[in-house]
């Protein structure tokens, strides 16, 4: 066991995957950095992306497999699709998920649909690594989550780890998976730490994780919201409330069975998602539970999400935008009254 940050865990998963399979490559803007200044000492591998997550890969695996790109996401995301079909396992970086719109066609209409509409003859084993999330004071165009945009599209898989174990194990799985996977990393979780076993095996996609057992209420927590869910649950223990916290971890495919089982037991549910509310992952999970656990439900399913606004910059407003521990506790108490 070693203690790793999420960032280190992701880097490890990348290094292991690069080592295990020479067809794994990485493309993105400044994923190494220093391109064009190779003749000067210390300029190479100067970045590793804006968060330094991919630092060291260039040095270890060379510029053929670790490719800095221009600001041409439609170009290199399309290239990842073609490379994936013909034998590579490309990982492409969408620096912030907020840039989704400049290459959404390549994912929605090509990566996701090609296997299907061309009759199942080809696979598109690629991974999109992208950074999501509010709370960084990064403003409206660098703070979104957009989980639901990708989850809506058949043909894509969507993964969003909370801690370092899941980050590593799920990324290992995503890279060996034969379908296109959107792997979402939360910028506010990169530095969070946990113990990670030396020889961690890939964690299968489509399996949720019960992060805390409890019998009184089911908290479905989306990615970073696990942090606040846990805080809330810990506080509520003192009041004799036992919360069960479930992190779905992968949103497509979603581990529905795990959710239903929990709700059968608790009869009460709150879903916490820092995304905008409409047609969100929270809406999806709520609608599934209400349809499949109707007779088990003892209270309305609450969704605690961001409001229907862009992410504001200023701290007091951004803090209000993100679901908080306090709001979670308040909402839980509302449901517990039923």
């Amino acid at each position: 066991m070693t203690i790793l940050t999420v960032k280190e865990a992701i880097n490890q998963a990348l290094v292991e995957s690069f080592t295990n399979d020479k067809n794994v490559i990485l493309m993105g803007e400044d994923i190494a950095g220093g391109k064009g200044r190779e003749q000067y000492q210390g300029t190479q591998d100067a970045w590793g992306g804006p968060f330094g997550v991919t630092q060291g890969l260039l040095t270890k695996f060379g510029p053929e497999r670790v490719r800095d790109t221009t600001i041409a996401e439609a170009g290199f995301f399309g290239a990842a699709v073609g490379a994936a079909m013909t034998g590579l396992r490309p990982i492409v970086e969408l620096m912030y998920v907020d840039f989704a719109g400049v290459c959404f066609d390549q994912l929605m209409n090509q990566a996701a649909k090609m296997r299907y509409m061309f009759g199942g003859k080809q696979n598109v084993p690629m991974v999109v690594r992208t950074v999501v999330g509010a709370g960084f004071r990064a403003g409206s165009e660098h703070s979104q989550t957009l989980y639901s945009l990708y989850t809506h599209i058949p043909g894509l898989k969507v993964v969003a780890p909370y801690d370092a174990i899941d980050a590593k194990g799920l990324l290992l799985s995503s890279i060996i998976d034969n379908d296109p996977v959107i792997f979402m990393e939360h910028k506010r979780l990169y530095m969070s730490k946990c113990e990670v076993p030396e020889n961690l095996k890939p964690i299968p996609l489509g399996k949720g994780r019960i992060r805390k057992k409890g019998k009184d209420i089911t908290i479905v927590a989306i990615q970073r919201m696990n942090l606040f869910a846990e805080e809330a649950a810990n506080i509520l223990v003192d009041e004799g409330v036992e919360c069960e916290i479930i992190d779905p971890r992968t949103y497509s495919p979603l581990d529905e069975a795990l959710l239903y089982e929990s709700v059968k037991k608790t009869g009460k549910v709150i879903i916490i998602d820092e995304s905008n509310p409409k047609c969100s992952l929270a809406s999806e999970i709520s609608s599934l539970i209400s349809e499949n656990c109707f007779s088990d439900l003892k209270a309305p399913i609450l969704k605690l999400t961001a409001p229907h606004t862009p992410v504001p910059f200023s701290p007091p407003m951004e803090d209000f935008y993100i679901p908080s521990t306090k709001k979670i506790i308040k909402s839980i108490k509302t449901i517990l009254k039923y």
Partner: protein
């Protein structure tokens, strides 16, 4: 240029096959015998066949919604193509794609895209893979004159040049993007001038002359590999078909169509048969073979079974829980 006899036969046979196939499609389209949109490529035969004649069987290409000619020239099974257009289970995409998405990965077709300019980035990726894996397959992306205004084309072109990726960007300049004339939508004198933005080598050729197309393509492939660089090819021809079957084509002036008929690629090819010592008997033979093959393919397709409704649930993913695809 010397052409091996088999290749020569292949070229003529394919030219006729594509033309007859598309004429047949036009007919059944009129009679509303097939579902959906149909984009035929009458006038493009020389480009399809000329480029493909310079490629190896397993080279990579991408096409568009106007793909019948590319698929036929890439040696996809005619019966399977037709069956797909009819929406049948034995179609080349199992009936999931339809006319706009005729494609066979096993024949080196990476895809036929309904989104304008979606192909160039994808083929760039295939070419990148060949480069990284030191493979030897060529990579060619086909697109129309209308696609050169689209960002996806530009991003692919820029990266291909920057990364020294040998591949061909083949633009069919057929005079129209839907109902918009190329001479209006171009900003430059020649369409191929667009490649200057990337300092990319480019050549232009007569898209109605299959032998010229072939020669330019062969040379470009060699140069591209030798110099480790992408090359842009513009072939000029004329879109005799409408944008799709049913298009009234009111925007295509009659005098223009009549003028273009003088350089119909099939006509030109027949005129050139002499140069290659092909007798008119041989030519007629090719025609007959092509026509028979086309007729046979349509007969085949018509009688093929429809897919089961539930077949639609397969092939979305390599691996995904069935009960999450459809709730029952």
């Amino acid at each position: 240029m010397n052409i091996d006899q088999n290749k020569l036969k292949w070229i003529y046979k394919k030219l006729f096959t594509i033309r007859f196939f598309e004429e047949k499609i036009k007919k059944i389209a009129k009679e509303k015998l097939v579902p959906g949109y149909l984009h035929t490529c009458i006038g493009s035969e020389a480009i399809c066949v000329g480029v493909m004649s310079a490629l190896n069987e397993d080279d990579w290409i991408s096409s568009t919604y106007r793909n019948h000619g590319h698929a036929i020239a890439k040696n996809c099974e005619l019966k399977e193509i037709t069956s797909e257009i009819f929406g049948r289970k034995t179609g080349i995409c199992k009936g999931k794609g339809g006319s706009m998405h005729i494609s066979d990965f096993n024949k080196g077709m990476l895809g036929s895209f309904g989104i304008v300019a979606a192909g160039p980035p994808v083929v760039l990726g295939a070419a990148l893979q060949e480069k990284i894996n030191k493979g030897s397959k060529n990579s060619v992306t086909f697109f129309g004159d209308g696609a050169i205004h689209n960002g996806a084309f530009h991003e692919a072109a820029g990266l291909a040049k920057l990364w020294d990726i040998p591949m061909l960007f083949v633009c069919e300049n057929n005079g129209y993007a839907e109902a918009t004339a190329t001479d209006w939508h171009l900003n430059t004198k020649n369409l191929s001038d667009i490649s200057r933005a990337y300092n990319m080598i480019s050549y232009r050729g007569d898209g109605n002359n299959v032998f010229e197309v072939r020669e330019i393509t062969q040379n470009a492939l060699n140069e591209s590999i030798k110099k480790n660089t992408p090359i842009f090819l513009e072939f000029k021809n004329y879109r005799f078909s409408g944008q799709y079957e049913g298009d009234t084509q009111l925007y295509q002036p009659l005098e223009e169509i009549n003028e273009a008929k003088k350089t119909d690629p099939i006509k030109i090819a027949i005129e050139k048969a002499n140069d290659y010592k092909l007798s008119s008997i041989e030519i007629n033979n090719f025609k007959k073979q092509a026509l028979d093959e086309v007729e046979e393919a349509f007969k085949f397709a018509e009688t093929q079974p429809w897919p089961e409704p539930e077949d639609s649930l397969n092939d979305v993913y390599v691996n995904y829980p069935k009960n999450l695809i459809l709730k029952v």
